[in-house]
Amino acid sequence: MTNPSNALPEGASSFARIQAGMAKRRAAERRFKMLGRLAVSVGLLFLSVLLISIVSKGYTAFWQTQMRIDVVLAAEDIDPEGTRNAETLRKADYSSLIKQSMRDMFPEVSGRRDKFALYGLVSNGAAFDLRDKVMADPSLIGTKVSLWVPADDDVDMLMKGHIDRDAAEGDRRIKDNTLGWIDQLKAEDRLELRFNIDFFTKGDSRDPELAGIRGALMGTIFTLIVTLSLSFPLGVAAAVYLEEFAPKNRWTDLIEVNINNLAAVPSIVFGLLGLAVFINVFGLPRSAPLLGGLVLTLMTLPTIIIASRAALKSVPPSIRDAALGIGASPMQATLFHVIPLALPGMLTGTIIGMAQALGETAPLLMIGMVAFIADVPQGVFDPSTALPVQIYLWADSPERAYVERTSAAIMVLLGFLALMNLVAVLLRKRFERRW
């Protein structure tokens, strides 16, 4: 507060002066509020533009064009000896059965090139679907079945309106004769947009219509489990030691400076470190979530330590005094009173670190999590990739159908992030206390 006596003109009461100044103060207040609202609205605007563009591009990926085909499951083609042996059933040539059914639908098609185009209407995955169906129920052999299989991605794109039918034939991925077949199939109700379950249950694929997010999602989940279970206890323990127990001397100062520096190191450097140390020295399996988790642990540790120390610092010293003053040991005071109060802050730091780890691509590229992996990983040792890397890979693929999948994968990533944050908020609510 400034000294009022010298600013006061002769005779004016201080109340009058306060009144005179009020208009100005209110205006300043209003300006400040406006500025804040403006900032928030601009932020919200950009966020909604981003979300709208992602969702509008990506939501179509959750539907996929399916084609109904009628396949004759002749016993002599599948199981000529009639053993119904699983191995025989697995090895049977289902794709030729599907080709046969396509020929049956369009008997007029002849010539190598046209036939090839005709077979291309159905996805390569159809043969696997058929195989699974037969193996699940061998009694189907000898009958004619009608089943829905994924259509090729070009058909899918046409159905979704991403291919312009009015363009010159040479500029189109779908030629005129193929267009005619597709129209005929549509007229026969053999083409339909259906919910794309495969997107959530399958791993990556070279065929966009078969590519799913499951592999990357599981890879991310395994990686984050490793990261969380290492970086949270390590980070909190380090923070508690440094803040509550460590002597304050040159060594602890040095450690503190280095932790702050590490938090600012570009993440790709941690990837290089992981490559050099975890793969080359310790011989851990390349591309595995375990490795990714270790590298991301290194990356998130400084964040968690710094946030946890800040949380510990903000616990009022009077709480420590209270415990020590009746004879609690420093460990008891910390464990029973300080850490519970600091926990919400620690959780906030952890969730920031985990969100960082979730979105990280660069270090994972260095340790081989960028490889094409079609199988869904079953554990932390299986080769896998991660959501952001999958997004990067799909965004890099030339086929038109990957565009919507890229956006859909981003939606999955954001959904996962929101879920993580929700859990953190709930946990924090549980631990939050007044004092």
């Binding site: 009022p316 420590r320 005094d321 003053g325 009746i326 004879g327 007044r434």
Partner: protein
């Protein structure tokens, strides 16, 4: 409460003392009065405390008797809290603080090398100026001490300790129906009595109180004072206060501190009626500063 005492409590440390440096020398001063008692619980000899370069306590010797309430008064920043915190080594937690001298608790030097501060603080418990209950339930606040020191074998034991401590602290009637409510939700006066209950639950030999009533209304203050009177039967109590009336009401002996020196220690009645040192007289008559 004297207007001076009231005002000083809100000044920053050290600000009040500076006016006197010119009239009184900087040398260590002899203490006037009865420093020693016959049957001491605590005997301090030649205590010096430094905060870095700052000499906060200058060569003080003082006894705390058994079953006695010793009041410590003096202007803000004179070192009362610092001296009090020496008695259970709470100054250990202050990094740049150095304590020298001998403090005997029942004849044993608490600054000795082999002394463990944890059991020491269980014997010399502290109640702070600002009520600082744990942000846990009222029950947990009181139960914490007995539990960590292993003073109870069963939940029933603990219940008994909690109840009797709260009763002694004059709080039982007010909280007996809401022991599970959070301790920080109580009023300031109730919180302070909760902190006292927490301290007496571990049955210490000495209770150190740093301005326990500074945030309390007259009714709560009266309750705490009554409590101190009752506790004296069982514990020795050292109390820092800015209210000379309070010192006069609750204590048997009073020590007057001034800028890190212990100026005078006397029977409380005598100190307030017939102070022997000029500085003491200035302070209690309100001429200080």
């Amino acid at each position: 409460m004297s207007p001076q005492g009231q005002a000083m409590a809100f000044k920053f440390d050290g600000a009040a003392g500076s006016a006197h440096t010119t009239t009184v020398g900087r040398d260590v001063r002899e203490t006037v009065g009865e420093v020693r008692v016959n049957d001491p619980r605590i005997r301090c000899t030649d205590i010096n405390v430094h905060y870095g370069e700052k000499h906060a306590i200058k060569n003080i010797s003082l006894d705390v008797g058994k079953g006695e309430v010793l009041a410590m008064i003096g202007p803000s920043g004179c070192g009362k809290s610092t001296f009090l915190r020496c008695l259970n080594r709470m100054n250990d937690t202050v990094r740049e603080c150095r304590v020298t001298g001998e403090i005997l608790l029942d004849g044993e030097d608490i600054n000795g090398r082999h002394i463990d501060v944890v059991p020491l603080r269980a014997r010399v418990a502290m109640v702070f100026q600002k009520p600082n209950p744990f942000p846990k339930s009222i029950y947990e606040n009181v139960a914490f001490g007995p539990r960590i020191h292993g003073l109870c074998d069963s939940k029933a034991d603990l219940d008994v300790i909690v109840e009797s401590s709260l009763r002694k602290a004059n709080l039982w009637e007010e909280v007996k129906d809401r022991l599970d409510d959070v301790g920080t939700g109580l009023s300031g006066g109730q919180q302070q009595r909760l902190c006292i209950a927490r301290a007496i639950a571990i049955e210490p030999e000495v209770i150190l109180m740093d301005e326990p009533c500074s945030a309390l209304d007259p009714i709560s203050t009266a309750k705490v004072e009554q409590l101190i009177e009752e506790l004296r039967q069982q514990f020795s109590i050292v109390i820092v206060t800015h209210s000379m009336q309070q010192a006069a009401r609750v204590s048997q002996r009073t020590a007057y501190f001034h800028m890190g020196d212990l100026i005078e220690v006397s029977e409380t009645d005598r100190l307030f009626i017939k102070p022997r040192h000029q500085l003491t007289e200035d302070y209690i008559t309100g001429r200080f500063g």
